[in-house]
Amino acid sequence: MAACIEDVLAKAEKDEAERLKSISVQKELDLEFDLGNLLACDKNSVDAHGLKSTKKEDFLRSLARDNTQLIINEIWKHPTERVEEVIVVKLPEATTPLPREKPPPKPKPPTKWEQFAKLKGIQKKKKTNLVWDEVHKEWRRRWGYKRAKDNTKEWLIEVPENADPNEDQFAKRNKAKKERVAKNEFNRLKNVARAQKLPIPGQGLVPTPQQSKSDLTRAISVAKVSTASAGKFQERLPHEKAPKNTGKKRKFQPLIGNFSDERQKQLDILKVMDSKKPRIDMTKAVNRQMREEDSESRSNARKGPGKKGRRGNMSGKGKGGGGKGKGKGKGPKGKPQNQRGKAGKR
């Protein structure tokens, strides 16, 4: 009896082993799986002899079969579920890092109003979409077509007491509406420009119907310095005051505040004082260099023209310095002058 049971057990074991044999694969190194991408990496070195001895296609297929069996075994270990008569397996998250398609989205830059509201702590209030219209005795939309209290649909408007009786009140209302729309659009464009870091429209002097006194004085002062010599030779009227509020205002650091900043600044100063190297003002140095080159080339040009040909014939390379230097000086002559002009303005 006991032997019988043992026999049965042994047979069952054997069966099990045989069954597993058909799906088990022996590999030196285990495969690496990333089931999120249904990916398997076989790091074992591929047997090059096998490729030569057997047919290439057969060899590749047997290799692929083994690897596929392993990945299928791995997938079948995961929990399955039934969704609409279909058995699906839940895949884990992909672990292999892959580059993104585009950089992560940036937060939308706030509009001028949003900035202001944040500063003042103004919060958005949700308004109901429908409001009660007393005239029509029904609920209507707050905005848009067929809105409640629609003042564009009135057939009669009372003329205000202090208004011109001949003025068209309807036209006036329409015009006001159009102005508001235009202003809103303009503000929208300004916000867009600010967000894109473009020149913001409507800054500086813009045409307005009635200019205030300060606007006018500003316009005058701007016009005066808008000459080739930046207003240096512009005449003044007898009692004219010097323009106010032009140029940079000095700004001081706060007396109390960020101590670490202050400390850093002091340390920077000390560092500069301690260092043995001289400080170089790059713009100044470059300007000086250019000026020297310019003057040199000019003096060369004055000496030059008659001798140039002969010299060039005599020595090819050694003389090249003179000839070339001259070319250099003359060629970009426009540029350095421009730059100097800029530096002067500053």
């Binding site: 070195s45 090059a48 299928i72 420009a193």
Partner: protein, 307 residues
């Protein structure tokens, strides 16, 4: 207005939706692929491009006309096309005397070329040449990379990443078990890369997991590695940067041990047992004046500060 230069404002809701779909997103769309050919191609290259298009189908664009360009010398036109068709993967096929039957696999980040790897076709069997039943369109393939070169060599590593990006298909949370019927097998051996595509046959094995048999369906390639253009480490790193919102939030005070048991940590303040209310008796009741005086000292916050 001159200020609106470069800012496209959609005129209809539909075009707005279209533009929104192309904007950068937290979880991105599936990467699209553009498949194009250069000024000169052979039949092999054209057929190869068509076959790979068939593998990639719903997420690919096949450019039918010739586009004369050299991606390794000037990638501007490639970037232009990628912007046009919103594709961040490309496959470029060309043929010339120096580099016959040439395929360039590449990917772009933010409409700029990230990686390009040039592979020469040495042997090619088309999808059409093998008369077998094929896999349905849009099947997510299983990808297997075999050979130690994919783990050791830098270029092979990057090639693996590019190919994975190229062929992996959509990211899915679940997959139908019967739908796992396509395997792409890449073998790196002796400087060559063998790409084979098989159909999976699930056979009964006697236990739950089925036994696998494979049937070649094509296309199959024998590639050699040619020129490469790999992204600099800096760019590669920025391209991998995940936005903060996608990272899972760290849960405080919860931990797991090796067996998966969940542990919680609870923070408690010391309880003042002197002030514990035990039993209410008339004799122990506080009078009004006393209450006000004791209240300040008993508040727990203050107590903690004192300690």
């Amino acid at each position: 207005m001159t200020y609106t230069d470069g800012i496209v404002k959609p005129k209809t809701k539909r075009s707005k939706r279209f533009l929104q779909n192309r904007e950068p997103k937290l979880t991105e769309n599936i990467k699209n692929t553009m498949i194009m050919k250069g000024g000169n191609t052979t039949e092999t290259v054209t057929q190869a491009l068509k076959d790979i298009y068939a593998l990639k189908k719903p997420n690919a664009v096949l450019y039918k006309k010739k586009n004369i360009m050299r991606p390794f010398e000037d990638s501007t036109s490639l970037e232009f096309f990628s912007k046009k068709s919103d594709c961040s993967l490309f496959l470029f096929g060309s043929h010339n005397k120096k580099r016959p039957n040439n395929l360039i696999f590449g990917r772009l980040f933010d409409y700029h070329v990230l990686d390009m790897i040039e592979l020469g076709i040495e042997k090619f069997t088309s999808l059409k040449d093998i008369k077998m039943s094929k896999c349905p369109e849009g099947t997510k393939p299983m990808l297997v990379f075999a050979g130690e070169a994919f783990d050791i060599d830098n270029e092979h590593k990057r090639l693996k990443s590019v190919l994975l990006d190229f062929f992996r298909g959509p990211t899915v949370s679940t997959v139908r078990l019967a739908g796992l019927e396509h395997v792409l097998h890449f073998t790196a051996l002796d400087g060559k890369i063998y790409m084979r595509s098989y159909k999976v046959l699930l056979k009964k094995s006697g236990c739950r997991t089925p036994r696998i048999e494979l049937e070649e369906i094509g296309p199959s390639f024998d590639f050699v590695l040619r020129r490469t253009h790999l992204a600099s480490d800096d760019l590669y790193k920025t391209a991998h940067k995940q936005p903060k919102a996608l990272k899972p939030k760290k849960k405080k005070n919860v931990s797991h041990d090796a067996f998966g048991t969940k542990f919680g940590r609870v923070h408690m303040q010391k309880q003042n047992l002197d002030k514990l209310q035990t039993r209410k008796m008339k004799g122990l009741r506080k009078r009004r004046g006393e209450m006000a005086a004791t209240e300040e000292s008993t508040s727990p916050k203050k107590h903690k500060v004192d300690e």
